[in-house]
């Protein structure tokens, strides 16, 4: 029988093959290799769906783990095995579908965005997309931390290549460099974490009886013989440190504070790439990683609390910056940062399902919004300034409708998909936060971000589509074909309906089983299930759900609060910007405006650090040339000086020679005679 799991490597390899085809044969192919990419990603999508369904099968495996390739093996009694393998469980299967789906749609959209716009260098573009997809898929199926890290880095490389696609301009290469460098800074900590995991556990497997989360649990439970902690730390303390180190990579890739600065700059890349980065690949990788090794974090509550706090803070912090942006993609960029903050909050709050859920819904509506923005940009002849737009809804109805669906989802308006997932996050954060102040802080910040999100989202919608056209191009927008509308429609539908797969509040209220996603995620193998994580959290993390009144009232309070705030934000935006001639209201913010425009001076701060580093480097260079090399040259100078002195002995006067000769002999005679006692 042909099992779906046999084809898991093919899911990764198909886009990789399309990368090779586009790179080496792209210029000889129609559409610059796009068709190969579409075929490959679509093929991967089909395989992914097959794999995901196989997991549901009654008799089939619930989890599939297989070592495919041994990269390096140690020696000795318990050698380290550095391997590549696949781990398919509901989480990764879900992620595979998300990634391949978005990738396929992005490929199709690119036909409209890149090919039809007459871009050059298309083989390079499609090669980049293929490799990007392949790397992300490799990361998703990784069955150990090292493999995950390796594909994580490859994702970083691809983002560099694609963000810097328009390398002949000044902006994109700079943004690409920044993206790679900032995430590299996070990956530095991640790599320490990987190394520490190996040093501590001797393995980096995610799943199985010998996996490091299992060993960590055993160590925390008291069996410290299975791990080597460092500096004589208690296992819990050490695991917290390791967890935070790995978190460094997550913070970098998922653009969490303070390493979020690369993401807005990354808008310099082509818009379909932004969609891919934000919805399915690079940024999602960070959150996915935490979910993937959730069993490990579950035993270190301190790390979780920090994750939650960072997430909540980022959600609020990024949302405030999104309020004042002029470019449509900038707004979306900050919204991405903010939304991933929610996911981190969810993970920190112990609600693994909520995070995954939001990851999924966000993937759909954010891809939709970016592709929609891309369509607007095509229409606007690559002018991204919202103040030059206005009134586009009549000229491009499909775009408007889908964009609106996505916006409603983003703002968390009932019953769009974003509402369900965001609401679940806030609810979980709330109930667990009742017993944990740090978590509660995260919840408060997450809640505060809700109206702001709704506000900036609809500010964007109104400015772009409503009112009167504010420029010539907005009056006569550029047209586009099916390859743009198609993906928008698919995603538009998903943005509306995706939330229905996990209507936990409805279930709680009505008792009907509507938590399909929760059940699916709970169906994985041992140690990788939702309920398993909850047990760990309860046992080692002291996570205990609190209630206000009854469970139902708690639920209603939480949901009502978030929905109410979202609607408030929406209404404010409606009031201010849904007018024929909207004006900027930023002046009302006073001093705060400048701070927000300048992103809290975070970029300046990082540039300052970069410049200081360069100054230090310059000083080091001076030191090296002057002092260290100076000593080297000094030694030779001193020797040569000695040589010149020595030469002067030879005066050229033969009588001097005779005298020196006599003197030398006399000195020798006297020294030896007196010391040797010859004359006694």
């Amino acid at each position: 029988m042909v099992a779906a799991f046999d084809f898991v490597p093919a899911i990764v390899l198909l886009p990789f093959v399309s990368f090779l085809i586009a790179l080496f044969a792209g210029k000889y192919m129609p559409k610059g290799g796009a068709l190969a990419g579409i075929a490959a990603t679509a093929g991967s999508l089909l395989l992914s769906i097959w794999v995901a369904i196989s997991l549901l099968g009654v008799s089939g495996e619930r989890i599939h783990q297989e070592t495919i390739y041994t990269w390096a093996t140690g020696i000795g009694d318990q050698p380290w095995e550095l391997t590549f393998g696949v781990l398919i469980d509901p989480l990764s299967a879900l992620m595979l579908i998300i990634v391949t789906l978005i990738a396929t749609l992005v490929h199709v959209f690119s036909l409209g965005y890149m090919n039809d716009e007459g871009e050059t260098g298309l083989p390079r573009y499609y090669a980049g997309l293929g490799l990007f997809t392949a790397s992300m898929l490799g990361f998703v199926v990784a069955d150990n931390l090292l493999m995950a890290f390796m594909f994580f880095e490859l994702v970083g490389l691809c983002s560099f290549l694609l963000i810097g696609f328009w390398f002949r301009r000044d902006g994109p290469p700079s943004a690409a460099k920044k993206a790679f460098l900032v995430t590299r800074f996070g990956d530095y900590f991640f790599l320490i974490g990987v190394v520490a995991v190996f040093a501590t556990f001797g393995t980096a497997q995610f799943a199985g009886p010998e996996s490091f989360p299992v060993l960590a649990e055993q160590a925390v439970a008291g069996d410290t013989s299975v791990v080597n902690t460092t500096f004589g730390l208690e296992p819990t303390q050490w695991f917290t440190i390791v967890g935070l180190l790995v978190l460094g990579g997550v913070v970098g890739k998922s653009a969490q504070f303070p390493l979020h600065t690369w993401l807005p700059d990354a808008m310099q890349g082509p818009t379909p790439v932004s969609a891919l980065i934000h919805a399915a690949t690079m940024v999602a990788a960070g959150v996915y990683l935490v979910a993937r090794m959730y069993g490990f974090y579950a035993v270190s509550p301190t790390a979780l609390a920090i994750i939650a706090f960072i997430g909540g803070f980022t959600a609020l912090f990024a949302a405030t910056m999104g309020v004042v942006k002029r470019e449509i993609k900038q707004v979306l960029a900050y919204s991405t940062i903010s939304q991933y903050g929610y996911m981190m909050l969810a993970l920190g709050a112990g609600s693994y399902v909520a995070a995954t859920f939001h990851l999924m819904t966000h993937a759909f509506f954010k891809a939709l919004l970016f592709l929609g923005a891309g369509a607007v940009i095509i229409a606007m002849h690559h002018n991204e300034n919202m103040w030059d737009m206005g009134g586009l809804k009549d000229k491009m109805p499909v775009t408007y409708a889908t964009f609106l669906a996505g916006s409603l989802a983003l703002a968390g308006i009932f019953p769009f998909s974003g509402f369900w997932s965001k609401d679940e996050i806030l609810y979980e954060a709330f109930i667990y936060g009742l017993n944990d102040p740090l978590l509660l802080g995260g919840w408060v910040m997450g809640l505060l971000a809700v109206p702001i999100t709704a506000f900036y989202t609809f500010r964007m919608v109104f400015l772009t589509f409503h009112g009167e056209p504010r420029s010539e191009t907005a009056r006569n927008p550029h047209g586009f074909g099916w390859n743009v509308k198609g993906p928008l429609s698919v995603l538009g539908v998903l943005a509306v309906v995706a939330g229905f797969i996990n209507m936990v509040p409805v279930q709680k209220l009505t008792g009907i089983e509507l938590d399909f996603l929760t059940q699916y995620l709970d169906s994985g193998g041992e140690g990788l299930t939702y309920s398993g994580y909850n047990a760990l959290l309860a046992e080692y993390g002291g996570y205990e759900a609190g209630v206000v009144g009854t469970e139902v009232t708690t639920l209603l309070i939480a949901a009502g609060l978030s929905l109410g705030l979202a609607v408030t934000g929406l209404l404010v935006a409606f009031k201010l910007y849904n007018v024929p001639e909207p004006v900027e209201h930023t002046a009302k913010l006073g001093q705060v405006k400048d701070v927000l425009y300048n992103n809290y001076y975070q970029d300046e701060f990082q540039v300052w650090i970069a410049h200081r580093t360069q100054s230090v480097a310059a000083v080091a260079d001076k030191f090296d040339q002057g002092v260290i090399d100076g000593v080297v040259n000094g030694v030779s100078s001193v020797s040569l000086f000695g040589g010149r002195r020595m030469r002067k002995l030879q005066t050229g006067l033969v009588t001097n020679y005779a005298a020196l000769l006599t003197l030398g002999l006399t000195a020798l005679l006297l020294a030896f005679g007196l010391l040797g006692g010859w004359f006694v």
């Binding site: 030469r647 002067k648 050229g652 006067l653 033969v654 009588t655 005779a658 006599t662």
Partner: protein, 100 residues
């Protein structure tokens, strides 16, 4: 019989006189003569101790030395001659084209 120490003192004195000449005289010929003195100081020793030890080795050697001294002077004079032709002087301190 004269004690051997006296011969040693005499020869040492002659040697030192020769050495003094070598160190102070600039004229090449004086230099040569001074060296002759030093050689003869050695001869004094050789002959005196030949007597002291009662063998002929020293005396024979002294004859060899006298012959060699003559040969040395011969070649020395030759060199001083070409020195005079090239530098127009027989002073040993004038030829200093090479130094350091």
């Amino acid at each position: 019989m004269v004690p051997p120490e006296y011969y040693l003192l005499l020869s040492a004195a002659v040697f030192c006189i020769g050495l003094f000449g070598v160190l102070t005289r600039k004229n090449a010929l004086y230099f040569l003569m001074s060296v002759e003195l030093m050689l003869n100081a050695a001869n004094i020793n050789l002959i005196a101790f030949s007597l002291f030890w009662g063998n002929m080795t020293g005396q024979t050697f002294a004859l060899f030395v006298i012959a060699l001294a003559a040969a040395e002077v011969a070649i020395g004079i030759g060199i001083i001659l070409v020195l005079y032709r090239n530098f127009g002087t027989v002073s040993v301190t004038d030829a200093t084209t090479m130094r350091w």
